[in-house]
């Protein structure tokens, strides 16, 4: 019986298979459609998986990311600049500080700053941490991000990192000339003379400019005082450096704005000195909810395809819009 069955399976003509063959045709459109459909599917899954996965619960050194514009609220919409929520960062710092398994807190910085209050809040949280803190500056750690870095016990930056930029800007576009060209009038209705100070639809008066400049100067002064205290420098000494310019890591080291030149290797050695054992990073990331998924669907789609295919073809990973060499 078995032999009979075997013999019946040998010839395809004897099998009861519906013998209907699709005619060969120009299948380019179908091929592209199927590939695009699958690309979409994979990108959506991979783009959102990282949000939904639980954090790793092992590691003795907390690695807390500070990527993007520092602000009091996060946003990751398709057309918005990536921002980092100061509240979420502070929460992660406090959690790491309270965690017995964590020996050192590393702030992983790639940011050009943000709002003064949000930056100062994070800097305060770093300063208040009881455990040793290390600021690890990647490509960029300037302005508000440098304020945060200065609050840590040690600042590690690469020779080519961009840092410094100790200053405050309140620049904005003013459209009053444009409105005049189109015969549009700004109908000023205020109760309180300076209520619409900084409105882009009118010229600033000299008194408004004085107030505005005074406000920026005070912020700058507080910024300088806090950084000087954090870095154990005199205010006068720091003021010379705090004209808003950026410094390369190597220049920052010469001027005392950075402690160690290096990257992950150096961060690991410093952390190891503190905890006395091999370093295992524990990645922290802001808590996401289900609503965080939807913006990422569109945002990560194209990037994932480009980055993924690029990395497979041996190209450099695209991770930043900073100048690259």
């Amino acid at each position: 019986m078995a032999r009979q069955k075997k013999s019946t399976r040998k010839s395809s003509q004897q099998q009861e298979i519906p013998v209907s063959i699709k005619p060969r045709r120009n299948s380019l459109f179908t091929t592209i459609a199927i590939i695009v459909f699958l690309l979409l599917l994979v990108s959506l899954i991979s783009g959102c998986t990282s949000l939904l996965l639980p954090e790793s619960k092992t590691g003795n050194v907390a690695l807390i990311p500070l990527y993007g514009v520092i602000s009091p609220a996060s946003s990751s919409g398709t057309f918005e600049q990536e921002t980092v929520d100061s509240g979420a960062v502070i929460e992660m710092i406090r959690e790491a500080d309270a965690n017995d398994q964590i020996g050192v807190i590393v702030i992983d910085i790639n940011s050009g700053g943000g709002t003064p209050v949000a930056s100062a809040e994070i800097a305060r949280a770093v300063k208040d941490a009881e455990k040793p803190t290390i600021a690890w500056v990647r490509d960029l750690g300037a302005s508000g991000a440098y304020w945060v870095a200065s609050a840590s016990d040690t600042i590690v930056a690469h020779e080519l990192s961009t840092t410094g930029s100790i200053g405050v800007t309140g620049s904005y576009l003013e459209f009053s000339g444009l409105l005049d060209d189109y015969n549009v009038t700004y109908n000023r209705q205020v109760s309180g003379y300076y209520k619409d100070m900084g409105s882009p639809y009118k010229d600033m008066t000299p008194s408004e400019e004085r107030i505005y400049k005074n406000m920026l100067d005070k912020m700058h002064e507080l910024f300088i005082e806090d950084v000087a205290e954090n870095r154990n420098m005199s205010v006068e000494q720091l003021r010379d450096l705090a004209d808003g310019r950026v410094y390369l890591g190597i220049e920052a080291k010469e001027n005392g704005l950075v402690d160690v030149l290096g990257s992950q290797q150096e961060v690991r050695s410093i952390a190891k000195e503190h905890i006395g054992e091999d370093v295992e990073f524990r990645d922290y990331k802001p808590q996401k909810n289900i609503f965080s998924i939807f913006p990422c669907l569109s945002k990560d789609f194209a990037r994932n395809i480009g980055e993924g295919i690029g990395s497979q073809l041996g190209q450099e990973r695209i991770s930043s819009n900073q100048p690259r060499i």
Partner: protein, 164 residues
């Protein structure tokens, strides 16, 4: 048109012969498909790996260090993409790009049939165990186990000319 009617052309007739897909062709077509899927379709999954291992020696320890949740998602996504890739192409066109290159195709099959015949590609137990049965059936009967189960076949259509 009328000009051609004046001639009684004795043109050779094209005939077709259907044979089972040869194993070496099937293997080559399958590898080509896997290459395409890996480079184009699964590339975005690399986003999930924070620091991929350098070299095969570190691969095992790296994979085992990944969280079970991440591993499950990667396995399920890989399986889903592989099954959909083969099933959609075989259902809509009768061949995958790899099969087309080596000159193979399937009979007209429904989408459920196409899915069943490709279930062995899902890298999750117990479906991945089907791979052993697939090889055994392919070598012995020139038809994979899931092909037999789904009542489908991979074939070669040979064309030749003869005078009538």
């Amino acid at each position: 048109m009328d000009t051609f009617k004046e001639y009684n052309l004795d043109l050779p007739q094209e005939k077709r012969m259907i044979i089972d897909g040869r194993i070496e062709k099937r293997a080559l077509g399958f590898l080509l498909d896997l290459l395409l899927v890996y480079i184009v379709l699964l590339a975005p999954l690399t986003e999930l790996f924070s620091s991929p291992p350098q070299g095969l020696t570190n691969a095992y320890s790296y994979v085992t260090s990944l969280s079970p949740g991440l591993l499950t998602i990667i396995s399920a996504t890989t399986g889903l993409v592989l099954v959909l890739y083969f099933s959609l192409f075989e259902h809509y066109l009768g061949y995958t790009p790899g099969m087309r290159i080596v000159g193979l195709q399937t009979y007209t099959i429904s989408f459920p049939q196409a899915v069943i015949r490709n279930l062995f590609l899902v890298p999750i137990l117990p479906l991945s165990l089907l791979f052993i049965l697939e090889l055994y059936y392919l070598i012995r009967y020139k038809q994979r186990f899931t092909e037999y189960f789904s009542n489908t076949k991979t074939i070669e259509v040979l064309t030749y000319s003869t005078t009538s």
